[in-house]
């Protein structure tokens, strides 16, 4: 059997068409032109007033209260989290309990309601034999999209998951994302939240390359089932609950499931700054920056080119200071650290971020500098 020859005959219609050929040649031209476009600094609108407001997906609730995401601030693996007072059973959940979840049988007492797991409070987006995902809340301002969820595991097997939202499979529309989750024992009893043993409370924040518009999106859950291989690895003291070194055998390509989710974009309440720069770090020359400041987080993307070899740990030790001045004369400096990096064929894009200890008001920002270099407005107190 002539495998190559036969395969070519079978795939005879799979060939570079004239249209594709033209697109390659035209794409080359477009790419060459794009490289020299002068990028002007722009400040997008900062007029909305929805500071820290959160929208409940699908139910239309809009309340002003601290986002559930704050639960994750100062999260450590060692002790239960103290949930801020303002976060304890916000009214929104009571409303949902009252109106969205008809009880079966006898009406539930207040105590029973308190014991009910959080999963019943959200909108179930994913439900299969392995797990379900309930979205508790989604907040969306400009390019930043945050959501909280309950992941309910239905199998004894270990599962690795990665949850995010995209529109029409457009993964390229997301610049970076980060998240965390809490197990039941990591939430203090006084918080008013209660998880079942097979649940985790997760949060995820992602930065789009463009503003998220209101409409239907898709929630994706990458998952892999992990098989614990007992007794096959060397025993080591790891300092975690199980001191045995545990190995997992995984399928190298995660599966995924998806479900529709409605996003209600709010008016942009963030500041976007982009422009050119001329900065050299080791073997990298950065030529463009993109800063995005939200009430909770500042993001920095640096684009450039590199020479010689590039490795994935290049950006691990890198950090940049973004100093934000406010109209009242105060300022704060955020040291952004590596979030993700893409590189290849001499081009590199580094995403960095830093969440603020407490929310800021982008509407009060009067100036921004990157590593001491003013890029917007007046720089009070910046040398």
């Amino acid at each position: 059997m002539e495998i190559r020859e036969n395969t070519d005959r079978l795939l005879a219609q799979v060939r570079v068409s004239r249209r594709m050929y033209q697109r390659i040649m035209e794409g080359k031209e477009m790419r060459r032109r794009r490289k020299f476009v002068l990028r002007k600094a722009v400040v997008l609108a900062a007029a909305a007033v929805l500071l820290m407001s959160t929208m409940y997906v699908g139910a239309g609730y809009l309340k002003e209260y601290t986002s559930l995401r704050d639960i994750f601030v100062n999260n450590t693996l060692d002790e239960p989290l103290e949930v801020p007072q303002g976060q304890k059973m916000p009214d929104i959940y009571e409303n949902i309990l009252d109106t969205s979840l008809p009880m079966t049988g006898e009406a539930a007492s207040a105590g029973e309601e308190a014991d009910r797991s959080l999963a019943g409070l959200g909108e179930r987006i994913i439900d299969n034999e392995l797990f379900s995902v309930d979205i508790l809340e989604v907040s969306c301002t400009g390019r930043e999209l945050s959501f909280n969820y309950i992941l309910t595991k239905k199998t004894e097997q270990e599962i690795w998951t990665n949850i995010f939202i995209a529109r029409n499979h457009d993964e390229c529309g997301t610049a970076s994302g980060f998240g965390d989750y809490l197990r039941p024992d990591q939430i203090s009893e006084s918080s008013g939240y209660k998880l079942a043993e097979n649940q985790v409370l997760g949060t995820y924040t992602q930065l789009g390359k463009e503003e998220y518009m209101s409409g239907m999106y898709t929630l994706y859950v990458d998952y892999m089932l992990l098989d614990r291989l007992s007794g096959t690895g060397p025993e080591q003291q790891t300092g975690v609950e199980n001191s045995n070194f545990v190995m997992y055998e995984t399928d190298e390509t995660p599966n995924y499931v998806e479900g529709p989710i409605e996003i209600i974009g709010s008016e942009d309440y963030c500041i976007a700054l982009e422009g050119e720069q001329d900065r050299v770090e080791k073997n990298v020359h950065f030529s463009a920056y993109d800063i995005y400041i939200t009430p909770l987080t500042v993001y920095l993307t640096l684009d450039g080119t590199y020479e010689e070899e590039m490795t994935g740990d290049w950006g691990m030790a890198s950090s940049h200071d973004i100093t934000i001045s406010f109209t009242d004369g105060t300022s704060t400096t955020a040291k952004v650290m590596l979030s993700s990096m893409l590189y290849g064929f001499g081009e590199i894009s580094v995403d960095m971020r830093k969440s603020f200890d407490s929310a800021i008001d982008p509407d009060r920002i009067s100036g921004v500098s990157l590593d001491g270099v003013p890029i917007m407005g007046r720089q009070d107190g910046i040398s």
Binding site: H169, E258, G344
Partner: protein
């Protein structure tokens, strides 16, 4: 574009300048083969088109950096494979739609003569099993049997040691042999 013109480009060369005519030749000489390789690797003919387009854009940009340490074909194949791997890293594109590919192959098969139609049946069965392999095994097999690259070249394309390529091929063959009828098993 069928490969009706013999290769004009030297396999090894000094650092050169990419021109439109050179680009056209690169597309002409390797385009169809790359597109088919990407189609089989990704399991998605449309995504494969994107991958090949991306590949050639990268080729255009980085051609000056090509130092001739590998053959031009190996160099371009490596770019294409890395592009595909980036695509595969996006979860929703990881699923191989076997039916799409097999449908395309069946169309190609029925367009052949009756004798050829019969002989192509075994290749379809083989490809069907290859498509079911995990990506790393699938890729090694495709590079070896479809691209007909020698193991040292596959090692360069994959950025692996030759010994690990041999292991990949060995395990891939073992998996294929378990599922293939005897007459097809012998070609591996």
């Amino acid at each position: 574009m069928e490969n009706s013109i013999t290769a004009v480009l030297p396999e090894s060369r000094n650092a050169g300048v990419m021109t439109e005519s050179r680009m056209k030749l690169l597309i002409h000489n390797y385009g169809d083969s790359l597109l088919r390789l990407c189609t089989l690797y990704l399991g998605d003919p449309y995504l494969a088109e994107d991958a090949v387009q991306d590949t050639y854009l990268k080729v255009w940009k980085s051609y000056q950096g090509f130092q001739g340490r590998s053959t031009e074909r190996t160099w371009i194949t490596r770019i294409a494979i890395n592009t595909c791997k980036n695509y595969l890293s996006n979860s929703w594109r990881r699923h191989v739609e076997l039916s799409d590919i097999m449908e395309i192959m069946e169309t190609g098969r029925v367009s052949q003569s009756r004798d050829a139609y019969e002989s192509l049946g075994n290749t379809m069965v083989l490809m069907n099993e290859i498509m079911k392999l995990k990506p790393k095994y699938r890729l090694a097999i495709l590079l070896y049997y479809y691209q007909e690259l020698p193991v040292p070249e596959i090692a360069r394309v994959l950025g692996r040691r030759e010994s690990s390529v041999y292991i990949l091929l060995k395990r891939a063959r073992e998996q294929l042999r378990r599922n293939l009828p005897e007459e097809i098993r012998e070609v591996l």
